[in-house]
């Protein structure tokens, strides 16, 4: 492998002044045109790993400065989930550097940062970062450590084997040089042909509770989110979008808007009208003053009450088959008892705390974007297409995301593309800001779904026939990933059903799907299909247990025989929650267990009813996610996922009348507040399982756990979200 001086300078930038271990090798189609294609070094995959993708050049992910600062370059987006710290731990583990010298920065958009398991797209989602980057980031750390070690050995003219690299320095006998002192020499060496990664028993960082590296900036107001981007000449724009799904622009009178002090321009976008002003307030008053007319949605627009009735009717008919074993209709006919239940969930907005925003500056045939995004290369390509410039001419600066939850993983680049349109039309650098109302009414919702579940049970109360019909919009259908829909099945609509551990022992089973189309735009929402499939599955299992007059825990454990990870998680959660023990007057426990993103989560909710409303006091949660990188982050993600799922279970609903969203802001699109937050006790199940995700899996079980507790308490079976007690 050769790295030219030229490419080194091109990558390390002026600030590096040629002293940084940063021989950034841009891939062929990336931003920097100054680099030559280089040979990729060959690295032996770690034992037990799958056939590895080509290893990364170490430099793109890591820089070591003369002052010993180690900069980890994050190929993904920090949106609260803690990878800013977690992936730094993973590199630092193998690099054996001084943790106090480690800092993290977001990578630019470039194919070298492509997701190892998402077709090379640079993205963050699917609870995938840590588990898919674990090997790559460890390998990077190990390669750099090897190069530093060899650099020291050459300098001292000693065999590398006599040198030790530890705590940010290489030593040999009494000789000692820090990584910073060795960085330049190390840079000149070829990367190792292979590296041996540490055995888990040798880990000193992985598995330890490490505090976040982004705390200092986030507790002082210094952290820069997309919303905080400022630069000379930057204008702010607000966009007036169609008032109803399916409505289209007809006309606009902007004379009043243009009279608002501070408003400089009104421009068209492909969907609506943008008002550009000197600051947010001018743009907002300007937008308020627009007089626009719209073509009404065809057919009067979506009405969610009518939609629910339509979905329920469809659920009684056969749909595309997602999975089938045996003859379910015959088995249902032969069953001793049959149970039918319908579950429904509404549209949900993600409502991240930072409203959507995107800053765009166009300069000739180049474009620079500052935003919080979960899909850098998708947004980069979208911007290039709108502007008719090469993708490589679009620079994406990923800012901290003030929450993502899937909303900032926009396969159609809705908010980035729109901002590019506005900047292009306005001819000035512009930050497009969404108000909370724009966000709540802006679509890209978790789709509404109906599940109709028909179960035949035998004399012991065990299911012997399971017919399950799901009705709801496909998320994939309107994205560039539509090709993943096979035989009418969008996997994200039914995930967690056919592969449910409860269904494996059911001799006749069939899962079907209807994917009606709608003008309402939909998107992945934290834990995606599991948000509704876990609710239907775990509610139905609970109904079966009660119908069989069996203890819900014992009933589940019988069905989960041969599934030791599920049994262990559920058993521990029940034990820690005091299942079967006396409980406070007016309280009841409910449980649920669900696997998603490779992680099994069991939750027990301790619930009462106060003034006619469910009150969740405590959630006991057991997580089996395999290897844990940072237990502090895992606990935070579990607590956060439960808060997010509980928000939806207690409050969340987007409803529509005539295509218009009935809600607008946090007063009527309610989310969980501090006084409703239960205590959450998190227990990590010791596990040798393959590493799973942690950003989402604890979201899905909370709704059924609470529903099941409420049934124990009130005998009301709540099959609709959000919960409404009679």
């Amino acid at each position: 492998m050769t790295v030219s001086r030229r490419s080194f300078l091109a990558g390390s930038g002026a600030a590096a002044a040629g002293l940084v271990l940063s021989f950034y090798i841009a891939p062929r189609n990336a931003i920097s045109a100054a680099t030559k294609p280089v040979e990729k070094p060959q690295v032996k995959p770690p034992a037990g790993a799958q056939p590895a993708p080509p290893p990364p050049p170490p430099n793109a992910f890591l820089r070591i400065a003369p002052d010993d600062t180690v900069t980890v370059v994050l190929a993904h987006s920090e949106m609260g989930q803690g990878i800013w710290t977690g992936l730094a731990m993973v590199i630092a583990e193998e690099l054996s550097c001084d943790w106090s010298k480690v800092k993290t920065e977001h990578a630019p958009a470039a194919s070298v940062y492509g997701h190892p398991a998402r077709f090379g797209m640079q993205m963050t989602g699917g609870s995938s970062t840590t588990r898919t980057e674990f090997d790559r980031y460890r390998t990077v750390g190990a390669m750099a450590r090897d190069m530093l070690l060899r650099a020291a050995a050459e300098k001292w003219k000693v065999p590398p084997a006599s040198c030790t690299a530890k705590d940010g320095a290489v030593t040999s006998g009494k000789k000692r040089l820090t990584y910073g002192q060795l960085a330049t020499a190390a840079m000149a060496l070829p990367p190792p042909e292979k590296v041996t990664l540490k055995a888990p028993a040798e880990w000193t960082l992985i598995g330890k509770p490490m505090k976040r590296l982004d705390t200092p900036e986030k507790i002082t107001g210094r952290a820069k989110f997309g919303m905080d981007v400022q630069m000379p000449g930057l204008m702010t724009a607000l966009v007036l979008r169609p008032p109803a799904f399916g409505a289209t622009f007809a006309s606009v009178d902007d004379s009043a808007a243009l009279k608002v002090p501070g408003v400089t321009k009104v421009v068209r976008t492909s969907r609506g009208v943008a008002v550009v002003g000197a600051h947010f307030w001018a743009a907002k008053l300007g937008r308020d003053a627009l007089n626009a007319t719209w073509n009404a949605p065809p057919g009067g627009g979506v009405d969610t009450r009518a939609q629910l009735a339509d979905f329920r009717a469809k659920a009684k008919t056969n749909g595309a088959v997602a999975g089938e074993v045996g003859d379910v209709d015959a088995a249902l006919g032969a069953s001793k008892t049959r149970l039918v239940a319908e579950y429904d969930v509404p549209y949900l907005a993600h409502a991240p705390m930072e409203p959507l925003n995107c800053t765009v500056r166009i300069d000739g045939d180049r474009c620079e974007i500052w935003t919080g995004t979960q899909m850098q290369t998708v947004d980069q390509a979208a911007a290039a297409k709108i502007l008719g410039i090469p993708t490589a001419n679009v620079t994406i600066n990923t800012m901290f995301l003030g929450g993502g939850f899937g909303r900032r993983a926009s396969p159609n680049s809705d908010y980035v593309g729109e901002a590019v349109e506005v900047a292009k039309a306005a001819g000035v650098p512009v930050k497009v800001v969404w108000t909370r109302e724009d966000d709540v009414r802006g679509g890209q919702y978790r789709p509404a779904y109906v599940h109709r579940v028909e179960v035949g049970v035998n004399g012991e109360g065990a299911p012997v026939a399971w017919k399950h019909v799901v009705v709801g919009q496909s998320i994939m259908a309107t994205t560039p990933f539509a090709s993943r829909i096979k035989n009418g099945i969008d996997p994200s609509s039914v995930e967690g059903l056919f592969e449910s551990p409860y269904l494996e022992s059911v001799p006749a089973r069939r899962v079907m799907l209807h994917s009606p189309e709608s003008a309402v735009t939909v998107l992945w929402w934290r834990s995606v299909g599991n948000t509704h499939t876990a609710f239907a599955m775990e509610s139905m299992i609970d109904e079966l247990a009660h119908t069989a007059k069996q203890d819900p825990l014992a009933y589940r454990l019988r069905l989960l025989q041969g599934k030791p990870r599920f049994v262990a998680a559920l058993t521990l959660a029940a034990e820690k929650a005091g299942w079967g023990k006396p409980i406070a007057e007016g309280h009841a426990l409910g449980l649920a267990v669900h696997e998603s993103f490779g992680t099994i989560v069991a939750e027990v909710a301790d619930v009462s009813v106060e003034r006619g409303k469910p009150r969740v006091h405590k959630v006991t949660c057991v997580v089996d996610c395999g290897t844990v990188v940072n237990p502090l982050a895992v606990e935070a993600q579990v607590q956060g996922s439960i808060a997010y799922g509980l928000s939806a279970a207690l409050h969340g609903a987007i409803t529509l009348t005539g295509g218009k969203v009935d809600q607008s802001n946090f007063h009527d699109y309610r989310v969980l507040r501090m006084n409703e937050m239960p205590r959450v006790d998190v227990f990590l199940q010791k596990s040798d399982a393959k590493m799973g995700g942690i950003g989402e899996p604890a979201t899905a079980p909370i709704a059924p756990a609470v529903a099941n507790a409420l049934f124990s308490l009130t005998k009301q079976r709540l099959r609709s979200l959000p919960f409404q007690l009679a």
Binding site: T220, F225, A351, G402, G404
Partner: protein
């Protein structure tokens, strides 16, 4: 007009009805104060006005008068306020967007109640939404900050 922000006097030329939030962010470049809802529902825009936590997104700048405005940037020069130290110790933040408001709400609570119960914390901070669900650690950190303040005395 003149505003007293984080210990200094600032001259601003703003329309009278412009909310303090946007004066701070867009005219004075103080971006630690956040826009979350614009209707005093989420608390991300919390500042102290003479020590009282206030929603700056609905407060016309003309109504501020001579009151002292404190944003997260002015709480301490270096993140050493007891609430900030407790936030660090307890590892509270996730995305971080709401945290300026949470910290300022917590600091104001501790000024008037040095040893709050969970119920006191819930009552004082339920106006501050966190979508990441940092609530359990916020509760823990407010208790920790109360201990730090006592130790400092």
């Amino acid at each position: 007009m003149q505003l007293f922000v984080n210990g200094t006097t600032r001259e601003v030329d703003a329309p009278a009805d412009m909310p303090l939030l946007w004066v701070l962010r867009d005219l004075l470049g103080i971006t630690g104060v956040k826009f979350g809802c614009g209707v005093a529902q989420c608390g991300a825009c919390t500042v102290h006005l003479d020590g009282t936590p206030t929603r700056s997104c609905v407060l016309p700048v003309s109504a501020v008068g001579k009151r002292k405005v404190l944003t997260i940037e002015g709480l301490s020069p270096d993140g050493s306020h007891p609430v900030q130290r407790a936030w660090t110790d307890v590892d509270v933040v996730q995305c971080g967007y709401c945290q300026s408001g949470q910290i300022l709400a917590a600091a104001a609570l501790l000024e008037r109640n040095a040893d709050p119960t969970d119920g006191d914390i819930d009552a004082a901070l339920s106006g501050n939404i966190c979508r990441c669900g940092t609530y359990p650690r916020i509760r823990e950190a407010v208790h920790a900050a109360a201990r730090l303040r006592k130790g400092a005395r």
